[in-house]
Amino acid sequence: MLAFIIKRLANAVFVMLSVTFLAFVIFRFVGDPVDQMLNEQATQEQRDDLRERLGLDKPFLVQFTTFVGRAATGDFGISFRNQRDVLDMIAERFPATFELVLVATFISLIVGVPMGVITAIKRQSWYAETMQFTSIIGISLPSFVVGIGLILVFSVWLGWFPAFGRGDTVDLGWWTTGLLTPSGRMSIVLPALSLSLFQITLVMRLVRAEMLEVLRSDFIKFARARGIPARSIHFRHALRNCLMPVVTMTAMQIGGLIAFALVTETVFQWPGMGLLFIQAVTFVDVPIMAAYLCIVALIFVVLNAIVDMTYAVIDPRLRGAEK
């Protein structure tokens, strides 16, 4: 088991290094931060001087190793544009993104699981067909279109929810939450809904497929033969057997949602990490871009490692394969 964990950790470090390296390769093509940092009146000499002080004139490999060396000690530098500590900026925005993702995941389970069950047990009914059909829309509409649509209907026409922002937040010292204030709760509805739409479809389709599989299995047939009521069979016995893959998928998707939230955050001006990243790209704010990519990669790596290790604990065959 120890060897397995060490191996997983080594893999994780390798993945992180590769992501950082790729990120640095990409940065060379996004443009020159100095052009954006100085205004129209700055002279050529001032431009060259700043470029030199930032180390941007150094060869690629030197810049990369300096960055990795510093990042290993948790020092990502300060933002070119905002002149603030990059880790602080990300830490300040992480709660917003994480709350949005959690609420979106919650919505997708609450809505997606029952829909999946219904479409599996009432396959021929018109409403199951309708759900199946609408889920295609959910999966194929780009999220910015969904976001703008929601804003138009619920903010401009009906005036029920705010169109942008996070509302009032409560500062708990290490975490700011919008879920404890009425305005914060109202503000999260539209962005979470827009982010969860894709997830709902995914959960629904997964549950449906699993349910169809389980409903064909022998123990369900026995249960039916024993005269157990249909509702109990469907929701107690069959559904429970479907949930394992759903939980795994949901956990793995949290990383994806954190990365994916940037479109939703831009549309709703949600002050999260994605919005920070988008702006950093526009202004070629290299320290923020680098730190963001590293942290998102870290979240993916950690989530995957946890899932893998849990599997290894549950399934002894996986442990054996490592020998």
Binding site: F29, V30, G31, D32, D35, M37, L38, N39, E40, Q41, A42, T43, Q44, Q46, L50, L54, G55, G77, I78, S79, R81, N82, Q83, R84, D85, M89, I148, I151, L152, S155, V156, L158, G159, W160, F161, P162, A163, F164, G165, G167, D168, T181, P182, S183, G184, R185, M186, S187, T266, V267, F268, Q269, P271, L275, L276, I278, Q279, V281, T282, F283
Partner: protein, 523 residues
């Protein structure tokens, strides 16, 4: 039912709610901005949007009035003692927001901070050499040469309190390369009409009125809530749903809809920014081969082949102003006489090309960005197709600014777009020295095509040290005439700008430099 729901959502709408509840006693402007300010430190980043916003909190020695004329602010008067020494008399009785008195020491500390080696705004005060405090309310500014535009530059140099800077270890600007944060990035202490209450980056920055402001307020606001909303569609939605009551960047395509809303008014005019095309003037084109763009007839032909009226009507929806000169009408140095657009004459364009020996056209790179200027992608496409019609073969290359700028700056573009507003200087000298002058020493930073016109350079250099305003402006106009005759750059138009505000405001002046100034707003 509908009403109570709406009321509930407003009450729950948080910030919005607090305001509405108190709006009877307080005059608040809720400002939906296209972007956030980058920092609370006015010397942090060469960004005029941030500097302008911070002008609500901080002030300079001089400022622009409603007509964009320079008027006294923290300085009450000034005199040119010798061509390189200016003496400023400072206003007495001014207090910083923390109660400290404003004196000449504060001016000195601020000037030293902004001109520090590591200051990104050093270029905003190019002529500064040193300053000497004469007494508490008099300061001499020493320049490194005769320089007529000192006052223009000083409008953008905000004054800090020396004691506050020293106490918080912020006498030097924040140096990003050192990797250490600065106190002034998070805190403010100015003399301006508004005081900072709180700031949450990307969410909101709140200002309250400064009851102890030295000047007689021309506004009646008590509170400014600045909320960035970067998505244009969301910004418009927030305005329509009443969550904000002012946006300073309304998308051109949404204007009819905003105009139709009964509770809003749209403010439109053309910007100071002139959008133009530049030409590669090196010996070879980017793709190799002899460069036809060095032939004046070719450049004239390219100008005549573009139907700017059509672009004005179709692409810019009638909102832009076609330009015949490289600066806008309100910029000193502009001449109405010279501002005659070249016109549209494809036959003559073809004839000129044939005369120059290019009747079969030639291929060149045409580099545009997709977001720098209003509807840039569309007008670039239109221009490219108009050029194709006279037989040229432009290869249109559109991408984000951050990606296109290195291409243009490194000579990897044959024809490119550039917009120049002469900000923050507001004088033709800005475009002459930065764009049109040969790339030598500190001049011609934006001379991306690498041309050289000695006569123009000479006029620019003379204008730089000419203290007589009329003589200097004549030199600048003469230089602009050379640029026009030689088609060094091809002016397109002054782009439109649009703000939209709630009808609740009785006075909301719109400035051609596209900077909202809250101290002129009445609700």
């Amino acid at each position: 039912m509908k009403f109570s729901r709406k009321l509930q959502s407003v009450t729950l709408g948080g910030l919005t709610a607090v305001l509405l509840a108190t709006s009877s006693s307080a005059e608040t402007v809720r400002w939906g901005a296209p972007r956030d300010i980058v920092s609370l430190d006015p010397y942090s980043y060469g960004d005029s949007y941030t500097i302008n916003f911070l002008n609500n909190i901080y002030e300079g020695l001089v400022r622009y009035n409603r007509d964009l004329q320079i008027e006294p602010a923290l300085a009450t008067s000034w005199e040119v003692v010798s061509p390189t020494t200016w003496r400023f008399t400072l206003r007495e009785g001014v207090k910083f927001h923390d109660g400290a008195d404003f004196t000449a020491e504060d001016v000195l500390a601020s000037l030293q901070r902004v001109t520090d080696e590591t200051s990104p705004l050093k270029g905003n005060l190019p002529a500064y050499k040193s300053a000497t405090v004469v007494d508490d309310y008099t300061i001499d500014i020493e320049l490194n040469g005769a320089y007529p535009l000192l006052l223009n530059d000083l409008t953008n140099i905000h004054i800090f309190d020396k004691g506050w800077l020293v106490a918080n270890n912020a006498e030097k600007p924040t140096d990003v390369s050192a990797g250490v944060e600065g106190y002034a990035t998070f805190n403010t202490n100015g003399t301006g009409p508004f005081v900072l209450e709180s700031r949450t980056p990307e969410a909101q920055t709140i200002l309250n009125v400064n009851e102890n402001w030295w000047d007689e307020p021309k506004h009646n606001l008590t509170r400014v809530e600045f909320q960035p909303i970067s998505s244009a569609a969301t910004r418009v939605a927030a305005l329509l749903s009443g969550e904000v009551d002012f946006v300073d960047s309304a998308p051109v395509q949404d204007l009819p809809r905003l105009e139709a809303a009964s509770n809003l008014k749209v403010l439109e005019r053309t910007d100071l920014r002139t959008v133009m095309l530049g030409f590669n003037r090196r010996d070879e084109l980017v793709a190799g081969g002899e460069n036809p763009l060095n032939d004046l007839r070719v450049r004239q032909a390219m100008q005549l082949a573009v139907d700017m009226d059509l672009i004005q009507q179709k692409v810019m929806r009638g909102k832009s102003r076609n330009a015949g000169l490289l600066v806008a009408p309100s910029i000193p140095g502009y001449s109405e006489e010279l501002d005659t657009p070249a016109g549209y004459d494809p036959e003559k364009a073809k004839a000129l090309l044939a005369e120059a020996g290019y009747e079969d056209g030639f291929e060149f790179d045409f580099v545009c960005t997709n977001e720098s200027y209003v509807n840039e992608e569309q007008f670039c496409q239109a221009i490219a197709s108009m050029w194709s019609r006279v037989g040229l073969n432009p290869k249109l290359d559109i991408g984000p600014t951050a990606k296109q700028t290195p291409k243009r700056a490194n000579g990897k573009a044959d024809v490119y777009t550039l917009g120049w507003a002469t900000l923050p200087m507001l004088d033709t000298y800005s475009i002459l020295v930065q764009v049109l002058h040969s790339k030598t020493g500190n001049s011609g930073v934006f001379n991306w095509g690498d041309w050289s016109y000695p006569e123009l350079d000479k006029l620019t250099q003379s204008a730089a040290v000419e203290l007589d305003r009329d003589t200097r402006l004549q030199m600048e106009t003469d230089a602009l005439k050379i640029a026009k005759d030689e088609v060094i750059m091809m002016p397109l138009h002054q782009q439109p700008m649009a703000w939209a505000v709630s009808n609740a405001f009785s006075d909301f002046p719109q400035f051609p430099d596209n900077k909202p100034r809250m101290w002129y707003v009445t609700k």
